[in-house]
Every structure is written in C-alpha cells, then in structure tokens.
C-alpha cells in the first residue's frame, strides 16, 4: 500500500470542477500539451488520470501505451461537449480483444 494521487487532464472548462473535489487538475490547451501532461503524470505518482474524450480521440497511441500497465489507469471522461462515445468504444475493444468478438 502506498500513497497515490489522482489527476484530471482536459480543457479548462471541463476539468476545473474537479479541483473542488481535491483532484490535481491539469488544464491543457491542445493535444500536444495533453500528451506531455499524460507522460509526465505517468512518470510521477499518479494512479488514475481522468482524460477528457475531446483530447483522447487524438491520443490513441499514447493511451494504448499505458493500457497494459498497472499505473496509471487512464480513464476517459466526457468533456464539456458531452460524451463522444470513445469511452464506451474502448470497453467494446477490450471485449473484442479478450473474446475475439463483441458478444455484449
């Protein structure tokens, strides 16, 4: 057991609210910044990184890189523009990966 932290990465409007809950908030402006933030957080002591779908859709390889590692868990959340369905699609991908077909 050790102490870990939780981060939220995304555009300012989407993630600002998480600051009230005590998460570490990293507002980013563009995809490049989001990638840099993700890599930096992965090196540091963060167990969960919430990432808005708006950025996640351009960061496929970066997210895939941490998918099989224990930390960080990169969890996609809908940003201010609403759900883009990427998070659900990733659940579906996991099923396809495990079973070989989408059975749900």
């Amino acid at each position: 057991m050790s102490e870990y932290r939780i981060a939220a990465v995304g555009d300012r409007d989407s993630v600002l609210g998480f600051r009230a809950l005590g998460l570490d908030v990293f507002p980013v402006e563009n995809t490049e910044e989001a990638k840099a933030a993700l890599h930096r957080l992965a090196r540091e002591n963060y167990a969960i990184v919430y990432l808005t779908e708006g950025f996640a859709q351009y960061m496929g390889p970066e997210i895939a890189r941490y998918q099989d590692d224990l930390t960080p868990a990169v969890i996609l959340i809908p940003g201010k523009e609403g759900s883009l369905g990427i998070g659900m699609a990733k659940v579906k991908t996991a099923v396809e990966r495990a079973v070989g077909a989408d059975i749900l």
Binding site: D13, L16, R19, I48, I77, V91, V99
Partner: protein, 237 residues
C-alpha cells in the same frame, strides 16, 4: 518429413514423449485458466459498462451545471472560488490477484474539514449554479473512482485473456500436433531400422549357409575325383 528436425533415436523419442506430456498438461491447465478468466472478465465488463453509462450521464449533468455557473460568474471569479480545495483526495492502491493477474484496488481517503462540506468557497461571491455543479460532481465522484478500478481491471484481464488464448491455441494447433507427428516419425523410423537389421541378418545367414554348402560340395567333388571317378557324384543339396 517431420515438422521438427530431429535425429530418429530412442533418446530423442523419450525426450519428445516427455515434452508432449508436459505440453498436454500445460494445455489443459491454460484452458482452465482461460475459461475462469473469461468468467471473471464478463462480470467485470458488465459492471464496467453500467458504471460508465452512469458516470457519463452524471458528468454531462455536472458540466452542464458548470456551463451555467460560468455563464453567471466571471472566469476569474470561478477560478478564484475553486483555487483552494477544501478536500484533498489521496489514494491507497492495493492489489487483488485474479487468476495471477494483479489488478488494482483503490481505497481513497478524502481529507475534508467538515463532513458533507465540499464547497471550498464562501457563498457571498459565488452563484448558486456553482454549488449545483460542485454537488453534482461530488456525487458522481465515487462512481468515477469505482469506474477507474473496474475499467483498469477489465483492460488488464483482457490483455491476460488474449495472451492465454494465444498460448492455448499455439499448444493445441501447433505444438502438440507437431510433437505427435515427430514422435510418429521417430517410431516409424526405428521400426524400419529394426526390420532392416533383421533382414540384413537373414541375408548374411543365407550367404554364410550358401558358402558352407559350396565348400562342402567342392570337398565332395574332390573326394570323388580322388577315388578315380568311380562313384557317382553326390546329390546336390
């Protein structure tokens, strides 16, 4: 020709038979592992889907509330109100072992001043919309943590299942048939060698016999000669 290039010797055969036994056993175990993992995975993934739906709905509501709040408050005021959080979340991460896959288990601790008080600002300078937004977020937050745990678990399990499935298939469709074929090849080859040596022995024995008979006949003929050819030559055998 066999799939594996081997010397058809008895030693090799014994070795291969041992390997085949191990492979068959391993195949059975891995198959059981895959089935059990799959069972666990299906439970996890169902929960994952339900949670994700819930969280996405909750967060959409929260961000709508935030949009309302930022409409009535200036960005600076909003920033200022949320600058110093009252709560601070830290996470204890433990591990749970599901069929030799380490999956994370989170225990989060919030350090807050008063219970049920999530608003990090005074009410004088902020609008009610912000209160709504923060409340909506804090309600969905517990589910978000659970979602993180479940989603990571499902990803790790999916990876392990994929690996196990490949191993099972490789053993079932490549390794085991290959070894069986090679064992068959060696057995046939050894039998063939055995037959060949039997035949060779028989041939040698025939040749020796033939030589002995010829020598005997020559000796008989020589004897007849010595007696002046008065007796008839012996019957050939």
């Amino acid at each position: 020709m066999p799939a594996i290039n081997v010397n058809p010797t008895r030693m090799e055969l014994t070795r291969l038979k041992g390997r085949l036994r191990t492979a068959t056993r391993g195949h059975k175990l891995l198959k059981d592992k895959r089935d059990e993992l799959m069972k666990q995975f299906m439970d996890v993934v169902r929960e994952n889907r339900a949670l994700r739906k819930k969280v996405e709905e909750g967060l959409s509501q929260a961000s709508a509330a935030f949009a309302a709040a930022s409409a009535v408050m200036s960005p600076e005021m909003l920033e200022q109100a949320l600058m110093y959080p009252k709560e601070s979340v830290s996470l204890d991460m433990g591990f749970q072992n599901i069929m030799s896959v380490d999956v994370p288990v989170y225990h989060f601790k919030t350090r807050s001043g008063e219970a049920g008080q999530v608003y990090p600002y005074g009410f004088a300078a902020t609008s009610g919309e912000l209160d709504d937004a923060v409340r909506a977020l804090s309600q969905v937050f517990r589910d978000m943590l659970r979602l993180a745990e479940v989603e990571k678990t499902s990803q790790l399990l999916a990876q392990e299942i994929e690996k196990t499935r490949r191993r099972v298939n490789a053993l079932e469709y490549v390794k085991i048939p290959q070894m069986q074929e090679t064992i068959k090849y060696i057995t046939m080859k050894l039998d063939e060698n055995e037959r060949a040596s039997t035949i060779r022995l028989m041939k040698v024995k025939d040749m020796l016999l033939k030589e002995a008979i010829e020598a005997r006949q020559e000796a008989d003929e020589a004897a007849v000669e010595a007696f002046g050819g008065q007796t008839a030559p012996p019957e050939p055998i």
